[in-house]
Structure formats: C-alpha cells, structure tokens
Symmetry: C2
Subunit: 309 residues, 2 copies
C-alpha cells in the first residue's frame, strides 16, 4: 500500500506525514512530493512541479491513495492568476484524469478551502447548503477542482474526498503567500513577547483549527468507507480575535497589550467576518475540530517550537 | 460595433441571430460562428472548432461583445466526457482568457444551463441561493466555466453575464445530443398527429421557455448596464407534462390520447422533477419567461414550421 502526499514539505503536509507515519503498517509506504527538496525523513521523495506531465506521472506511479495538498496559496494566486490556474486548476485536473484512467477507483483526498465560500456569507451562519461564491482566484480554482472531483466520483472513476480547510494555525514565520498569515504571526509574536499589530479589530471572528486537527481530518478522509457525494466543509472553532489573543497570551505568559488592532477593511472582510459555522455532513462522518480554544492554542504553539522569528 | 454569436447555426443560435438582426443599427455587424457550415444570411461567418486556438483567435478578432452558445449538449457530454472538457470547459476558458487580455473589458454573455443545479433539488423550491450540485458532466463543466467567468468579472478583466437556460422548446426533429429531446418531440408529434410516448409520467414537471424567450434573454444580457456578480438562473414557466400535452394538442387540434406515458426513472429524475422556481435576481434585472403556457406553445410551434419529422 503506497500513500502519496503532495505538498508534503509544507506546513500542513509535515503534520500529515507525521500522522500517517505514526500508524504505518509493515506493508505500507509513503511517497512524499513537493516542488522543492525537503527532508523526507527516510520516506520516498518526489521533487518537482506537478504541472509538468512527466513529473505528475512519475509522482502518481503506483500510488494506491493520495492526499493532494500541493497548491499556490491565496495571496500568491491573487497576484498571479495564470500561475494559480496552472498549479491549482490544471495540475489538479490532470491528476484527477490520470487517476481516473486506472482500472480501480483511487481514493483522492483533496485539500480544498473555505475560500470557495467567498466573503459575502449569511450573517445567520454558514452550513452545508450555503452556495459557494469565491471572492478570490484561489477560491475559484479550488471550487472548479471540487466540481471536477465530484463529477469523476459520481461517474465511479475515482473516490474523491474534497475537504474545505478553515484557517490553520500556527504556521512557522516567513513568507507563506497567504493573506491570512497574520493569524499565525500572532502566535509567534506572543511566544517571543514581541509587539504586533493585527489587521483586524478585537471583535473579528475566525474559523480555526490546528495543523494537527487538519492532518487528522485529511487522514480520516483516506479512511472513510465511501466517498461523500459533495465537498465537505470541515468543522472549525469560531474564535473572536480578542479571545484568541487572551488565550495565546495566557499560555505564553505574555501580556495581552503586546497586541494592537489596526483593522484593514479588505483583510477584515476576507478573513475576519466569519459567521457561525455548522458542518453536519462532516460531523456525521467523524470529522472533528480541536475541541476547545485551549487545546487549539496548545497544539498550535507546540508546532511553533523549534522555529524562530 | 461587432457582435459575435457562437453556436449561431444551432436552434437557439438562429433565434438569437434573428433577434439581433431585427435591431441592427447602421454601424453594427454580426459575426456568426459555428462548428460546421450554415446559412449566415449575409452576415459574416466563421466556421470551425473553437477548441483550436487559431480558430478561436480568428473568431474573436475585433469582436466588441460576444454571446457564447457553442457547446456539446448534455447527452453527448455524458457519453464523451473528454470531448465535453475540450468544448464546454477548455474552449470556454480559453475564450475568457483571450478576451480578458484586452485593454477594455468585453461583455461576454455565456449560455449556462439549469444542469448546473443537478437533480437533488429542494422540494420546497429552487431560488437564487440554491447551491449548484451538477449531476451530469455537462452541468459540471458549465458550472466550472461559470466560476471562471465570475472570477474574471470580479477582477474587472471581463464583463461576464452567465445565464442558466431552462428547457428550450421546440427544437427541430433529428439527433440533438440532448437527453431532454422528448420535450421537443412532443410538439412535433402532436403537430403531425402522430402517436408518441413520453418517458415521464403525466405529473412530471418541467421548467420551459421558448427559443424566442431564450433569445430575448441572451440579447438582454448584452444590454445590462452592469455585469451581475453571479450567474443568473433565468425565469421559466413550470409546467406539468399533462398540462403541456393538453395545451399543445388544443393548439394543433390533435387528440391528447396520441400521447402515452411510460416513465423512465432516470429521465424523470433528471428532467421531470423540477420544483417551484423563484428567480428574483434575474427578474429584477428584467429577464422574462414567455408569460403563460399558451404563448409558450404558440411560439414553440411557430419555430417548428418549415421543419418535418
């Protein structure tokens, strides 16, 4: 049994590889793919651009199931829509089509994003029947890939499981191409007792999970007995900015007044106005968020250990 | 002012060309494109496959606005998904990207379809907030193109107007590649006083407009002062099968018992279980269906004149 993870060198990818490695059976192998070289920890490694057909074929060869994380992030996609099309749409469609040509349908867990939902969300709350209306090119391409995956799954050619990830914290410092990077920067700043300014107000609301919870969800996607008939929005904790600041500060023993608020209306609309979230479909299939804010913060800070700002 | 119509040789295309030609100003020209040669009635003609980049460029050259009807229909797409991807997805994305490269945003009216909505519709009714869940490859590709069009429109690179067409009657006899061809065949049979069997029950419900109403809607899409921020489901008459049979029979002076009912569950689920439809967004923008069943039937039969079964 060979499990392929694309984007395996990234922040979520590394957590997925850890989760998979913990339960690896004697006849099971991992193949870890990413654009650039990374430490594959003794697992098989595939380095290169999946938009290159030869690289894609070599990466997929013999894989029995796939977690597809590789993507150009939201901010970078908005700045370069053609690059987003190549990586986030064309390469994903090519992967689906290659796998669909196999005799037996392959389980493909696809990391989609709440970016498919857009930024005009019902104030009363989002649930599984909220129509997606992407407000960024990243979300548009993710939605197009979700649509193709659902169609190949309907045709019985693949077992697609599209999971819409909420904000995942806390990423390591450095350029990520994410417009929502400030959420992770908050954890870094309070850990290092450095002042920081959030581009949202104290009453901003986020949907968050830890990288560990995201990894558990993606691995759970491999285990589902049947592919669901539509993309699943994953459960997430809905957290106010000031509550998040207080929880992270308390855990780090840092004063909350290190954090200032200077709301940027564009950022706030895109990332800081998340209404209540109900995810009955994902809940019923056993997907879980971190449980409570304290656990989320503890896990997020643990992932930051060993990194420096 | 050069207006391009793709799929201009088809059933809806011909009605669009008539509607445009009626109001053509002195400095206005039409370019009519289709896959195979057809009578362009003195207008400029472009023949060939828009999936061919050179043909696409030649067809788009100098066009100030576009109505894009060319498509592989639903039944043919389901039988040949790769051909649907080429025509319904790739060629449409290429058209959007070519037009988006222009200095000024071009108005592109895109003929989408209620097939994007799928076949698991809320019994209480469909409205503008019903999430699309295509149940055929045709609908999946139309939805992907809608998503791309909305994103380029949001970016200000194009003025996209995606209009979801309901069932359009009455097409001329002959192979159409449409799984819903029985709706048009009903008109032909009663006009010719021939017996026919519908693959749905008398209580089946359809959403219908005439080709004239469809053409009016597409031309109205050119005239909208601003591109809407999402795809629009067009208003349609919701009609029961037995009411439609009675209206067509009365208009033709034919007995209703020429029509038998032999429901095919697959067909009935896909085309014959349409719940109440509300289209407030399109209504507010001035889109209209035929008004009443009698008018729909009169117009549909008029389009059949000059054809034979």
């Amino acid at each position: 049994m060979l499990t392929l993870v694309t984007g395996a060198g990234g922040f979520i990818g590394r957590a997925v590889v850890e989760a998979l490695a913990r339960r690896l059976g004697p006849d099971e192998r991992l193949r870890l793919a990413d654009l650039t070289p990374f430490d594959a920890g003794g697992h098989e490694r595939s380095t290169g651009d999946l938009a290159d057909p030869e690289r894609l074929d070599a990466t997929l060869a013999g894989a029995d199931r796939v977690i597809h994380l590789a993507a150009l992030p939201g901010g970078a996609s908005e700045a370069a829509p053609a690059a987003s099309r190549r990586t986030n749409l064309d390469a994903t469609l090519a992967m689906i089509e290659r796998l669909a040509a196999r005799e037996r349908p392959v389980r493909l867990v696809y990391a989609s994003s709440i970016a498919v939902l857009g930024d005009v969300l019902p104030v009363a709350g989002v649930d599984d029947s909220t129509p997606p209306r992407p407000a960024m090119t990243y979300g548009a391409h993710k939605l197009m890939a979700e649509t193709a995956l659902a169609d190949f799954t309907r045709r019985g050619r693949i077992e697609g499981v599209a999971l819409r990830l909420p904000g995942v914290v806390a990423r390591p410092p450095g350029p990520s191409g994410l417009k929502s990077a400030f959420m992770s920067a908050l954890f870094q700043a309070l850990r290092d007792r450095q002042p920081m300014t959030l581009p949202v107000g104290p009453d901003a609301t986020f949907w968050l999970i830890s990288a560990d919870a995201a990894a558990d969800a993606l691995v759970h996607g491999l285990d589902l007995p049947r592919a669901p008939d539509r993309a699943l929005t994953l459960p997430a904790l809905r957290v106010r900015a000031d509550d998040l600041v207080a929880a992270v500060a308390a855990r780090c023993g840092a004063p909350v007044d290190l954090v200032a608020y200077a709301p940027d209306p564009t950022i706030e609309v895109q990332f800081g106005r998340l209404p209540p979230l109900a995810t009955p479909l994902a809940d019923a299939l056993g997907f879980r968020h971190d449980g409570d804010l304290e656990r989320l913060v503890t896990r997020a800070l643990a992932r930051l250990e060993g990194t420096s700002s």
